[in-house]
Symmetry: C2
Subunit: 695 residues, 2 copies
């Protein structure tokens, strides 16, 4: 890529970004757009959203989006701090040195626009790489300091959040699985007997989980039927004793579609009520939510094995009642065990298939090859516009189309693994997406085209740095362009194009619209990996092609403002993990650092600077030791609370009068929503998330 | 190796074995031998030791050697059962088929003695390998069944042992490390404050660990001095107030060596007393043994993180007071952390160095090469007897000499890792020895001579079975001979050659003998890996060269009788881990099975039986799933006791009157032996181990 082409790309994307931002600023208060742009705050203040996003404090974000929202914003804060320093080093020091180099023979400054951007990269220098060498150490030092600072800050927040939270059911409750049943006894009796025997002084109550698959299917059908009726502009009153459905039906003929739907709905609702009321028809699942009188007692039941047989009475943290993913309970231990294995294989296969598809699609860009493959299409393909469409546009459309389904597939995989909470599913999907993104975007493009032939570089571990040193810098222009293009994509988050189209289309064709649009939830599992990818690109190219740095920094600044706005106006949190996404960010950054080290070691080797190469070898080792230290120092805080916290919090609340009420509500907190009577309302209260309304 | 040569080897070793057994049977009751052959039972019964070993029940062994002794004997029981079945399959079915083969062209039976033993191995057959194939499945099935049975049996024993044990300090006590100290406060105050705050209802008492390195050195010097004096036939009275050392010295001149020693001893003892009495001179270590009122309470303190800062107030199981390895406490967290890393590298290096040494020593067997290396020795080397000694005997002497030091080196490595108990050190050393043995004996010999050149077979994972299929069968004769030779070495365990020589020499030259010989402790970390090696050899060669099986079976039968005798008569247990060595045995057997599968897959591939190869592929996967299942089902039992056990045991003892006495003794149970007043006695009570005398 030549400098003028880069300038054009920057110009176009900057223009698009400004355009999108202006469109948003103008439209966001107009009536049809408000329900998409600010479903959580239908009456937006008049001040500029940018100013509002800037002035908003972390406490506001905490109140609006929970600790997970805060952690999400901290990813941008951390990245901006890191890349501000890295950009100063890279653009201020390394880029001038690269520019002074003589490898690509730049004669004078006026020539610059027609030169390759490589004159600003390490390719242009051969000797005197000591400053590049020092930069690797400086960047790693700064990154580790910031990582440590951030980990400490967020773990502090997590503890503070715990200490200031009001009593929440999940802290007092343990999920018990694999409950053994003696002949004839019920699960409920077994739980009662066991916990009264071994936790006599602290055991409070329990809720056994039931098989509700059939009921869930019935409820789903009811919901579909009700939506259909509602969209036919006729909302029936919920049938009740003094308003029986049969009489109601008599007014309409059997051939009337509304009447037919109403009959079906009434039948379905009757069915649901029968299933809900008749407990004997529901099969008990050997799992129960067991509540204790204190947080410390519930922790005891989690961390000490309960039974002499380790495969029975398995205990784990109970999720927030709203966060429970009930269908998971229907699977047996063996099914979960096997599906864990299957999912592992499937997610590796998905990456491989995706790499093959990328290879095939990149083949589409070569017209001749396509004609050779599909000779009968030759006549059509020879039309100029078709040819341009096929080679220029089709590949990226297919790729985007395929990529957009990946987060859902990963979430499905995680669901199959049997996590009992939505947050658990999304955290696991986040890890899967991260691996997927790094492989299919970074490595697939680095090992361009012949990806699978190049995979053998990973067979001989000693040659990895050397090979990376050859293939990574070659893709610098591509990734610079990729980062610049991403400005538009992150800004389109603001304009919510697809949600907007869906909403507008829904307003025209009412038939498919189900409920009044609730505020959507943030998809951390697809957003976090995307942001971390730019951190990876910034770090790995910081030494090789520092020109990427200002663009990466701009990306993070845009993201900072946009997501501070979106978290408060658009997304409503569905769960609160208390910041448990941060360790994923930490680990990914360590991975990026080590990859940067390997590339630098390789590049110095290729540039005949063996001393630099050798002196860099301790750096990845030190980084991994730092990683291990942080793992010891902070990670346990994200896994469980300590005796100190638990006992202090228990003591602090011991004498509070509201605890009696809380304990009585605890007994019914873990009730399968499929067992709750059907309630329908379309008032705007539903827009606030169940989580926050309960806080 | 030809059949007649094997017969000779069997004859010689059988002869030696019978000779050693007879010598032991004759000598074991003679006065100078009793203290070596039966230090624990100086008055041996008159019946044959073999009959006694046979009649002895498992309870007897439990009483004499603890659960670890039982587990050690169960290794033999398991191996005998397994190899009885495997030998029936191998010798009864596979060997005749091999013999009928036509690859090595055996013409008639009379020719047999001069034929290679390979006529009995798989090398002699080319087609019709379905029975060999079935044998792999049958052997794996039997092995897994027996492994499951044994794991269940031993974990049952472990639970039973816990439930029937009398109150032991280690169950009530937690070792707390990394205790943070506020300015000016002592460790003791910090512990008291913390546990009174967070474990108010269950906390009992604590003992802070002190820096006693100097004191230990002084005590050691005192001990040496005392031994010297004792061996000079003059045992002084311990100096006391009414018998001051100075007056005592006046009677002897300064030039009298006894007097000089006595003066030194008195000075040293005075020093020790001063150090012991003056608590202010001892530095506190931020570690303490904290005791609780119940077993369940102490488990709570172990499994729930104590402090908000995970690097402070770290808790772990306290070892048995006799099992504590006090010098470990002097190392800091950072030192332990680094030395873990260093030890890992060192133990890998040790294996590599040892492989190189083995390569060099095998070079000694080639005279020409030696002469080329050391030309000045040519004249000496040309003498026939020297040449025979150097090539035939020297290599194995050097190897044995070096090998005999390896268990001590491994124990030293484990000590450096900072384990706080002798049992922890020995269990870790056992794992290290196992890896070392498998690498230096099995793989080093399989990849003969050019070991390091052949290492590249591990780089391409797909080729491992194929390469193993070539190199493993080639070494069958060597390992058959190795197993036959091992009969003599396991029988020499009975005659205790080195201990006997040391004892006899000690009786002659009194000067270096220190104390009356105590019963030695069993070195599980060197014995268990040695036995497991024979299991590995038996399993990996069971399909390829079934001739090895009867010899392996004989080895285990010999071992069964010999160790049942030795555990009751010779060795006194130093600690009791409650059977925690078994998981090591289980894992090693699984490893052997998977290695057997890989070799079989390779052999069937080489023999052009691809269907058999492919159908074997699920077997290692199923075996690993079985391993994972056992890991879930049994391993946790060996790591910790369950709430069920702990609470039941606590309730069972709640009202016993002797508990008050136990709790008062608990307060002083964890006292550093360096702080106890010097006490010397040479009565025979010391022969019984401290562990068993306390039971």
């Amino acid at each position: 890529m030549i400098v003028s082409a880069l300038a054009t790309a920057v110009g176009v994307n900057l223009g698009l970004t400004v355009l999108l931002v202006s469109a948003y600023s103008l439209l966001r208060r107009r009536p049809p757009f408000v329900s998409v742009y600010a479903p959580r705050r239908p009456y937006a203040p008049l001040e500029s959203w940018l100013a509002a996003a800037w002035r908003r404090s972390e406490d506001d974000i905490h109140a609006a989006a929970g600790l997970d929202g805060v952690v999400f914003v901290r990813i941008f804060v951390f990245s901006i701090r890191l890349f501000a320093v890295v950009a100063v080093v890279g653009v201020g020091v390394l880029m001038p040195i690269n520019f002074m180099g003589d490898q690509l023979q730049l004669i004078d400054f006026t020539d610059l626009p027609s030169k390759s951007v490589d004159v600003l990269s390490i390719s242009n220098v051969q000797d005197g790489l000591w400053l590049h060498f020092s930069a690797v150490y400086i960047i790693t030092g700064v990154a580790c300091y910031l990582l440590y600072y951030e980990y400490r800050y967020i773990s502090g927040k997590r503890l503070e959040y715990f200490m200031t939270s009001k009593p929440l059911p999940q802290y007092f409750t343990v999920l018990v699985r694999a409950i053994p049943i003696t002949d004839g006894g019920s699960v409920s009796d077994a739980v009662d007997k066991f916990f009264k025997e071994y936790h006599s002084s602290t055991y409070l109550s329990h809720t056994v989980v039931h098989q509700t698959g059939k009921l869930r299917r019935l409820l789903n059908e009811t919901e579909i039927m009700w939506t259909k009726l509602k969209n036919l502009k006729y909302v029936p009153q919920r049938p009740s004793a003094d308003n029986p459905p049969k009489k109601f039906l008599g007014l309409f003929g059997r051939n009337n579609p509304i009447g037919k739907y109403q009959k079906r709905l009434a039948d379905l609702e009757e069915n649901v009520r029968m299933e809900q009321s008749d407990a004997t028809r529901r099969q008990e699942i050997p799992a129960a939510f067991v509540s204790f009188k204190s947080r410390y007692a519930s922790a005891n039941a989690i961390y000490i094995r309960q039974s002499d047989n380790p495969t029975e009475w398995q205990t784990e943290h109970a999720p927030d009642p709203h966060d429970v993913y009930w269908p998971s309970f229907s699977t047996s231990f063996m099914e979960r065990w096997i599906s864990k294995f299957v999912v592992f294989v499937a997610s590796v296969l998905l990456i491989i298939v995706f790499l093959l598809v990328v290879g095939f699609i990149q083949g589409l860009t070569y017209m001749e090859q396509l004609e050779a493959w599909l000779p009968f299409l030759r006549n059509i393909l020879e039309i100029a516009i078709v040819s341009q469409l096929v080679t220029g546009y089709l590949p990226s459309v297919i790729l985007h189309f395929l990529s957009s389904y990946v987060p859902s597939i990963m979430k499905l995989f995680s669901t199959m693994q049997g996590f009992v909470s939505v947050s658990g599913i999304e955290r696991s999907a986040c890890n899967k997406m991260l691996r997927f993104t790094i492989w299919t975007v970074f490595f697939a493009n680095v090992l361009t085209g012949s990806a699978l032939n190049q995979l053998n570089i990973f067979v001989d571990p000693k040659k990895i740095p050397e090979r990376l040193a050859v293939v990574v810098p070659a893709q610098a222009s591509f990734f610079i362009a990729y980062v610049v293009t991403s400005w538009t994509s992150i800004t389109s988050e603001l304009t919510q194009t697809s949600a907007l189209l869906y909403h507008l289309w829904g307003s025209c064709a009412k038939c498919c619209k189900r409920e009044d649009s609730e505020a959507p939830s943030m998809h951390y599992h697809s957003e976090i990996p995307r942001i971390l990818l730019f951190g990876l690109l910034g770090l790995t190219y910081s030494i090789v092609a520092p020109l990427i740095l200002p663009f990466v920094l701009t990306y993070f600044c845009l993201g900072y403002f946009i997501f501070r706005n979106q978290l408060c106006n658009v997304y409503a949190p569905k769960y609160d993990t208390g910041g448990r996404f941060w360790p994923i960010v930490h680990n990914a950054t360590i991975f990026s650092l080590v990859l940067m080290h390997l590339i630098s070691i390789g590049v110095f080797g290729v540039k005949e600077f063996p001393l630099g190469s050798s002196l860099l070898v301790p750096l990845p080792i030190l980084t991994l030791l730092f990683y291990a230290y942080c793992g010891n120092r902070f990670y346990p805080i994200f896994e469980a609370y300590s005796t100190e916290s638990l006992v202090n919090k228990d003591i602090q609340e011991q004498s509070k009068p509201e605890m009696a009420e809380f304990f009585s509500s605890l007994e019914t907190a873990y009730c399968d929503p499929a067992l709750k009577p059907i309630q329908r309302s379309s008032n705007s209260d539903e827009r606030t998330s169940p989580l926050l309304s309960s806080v």
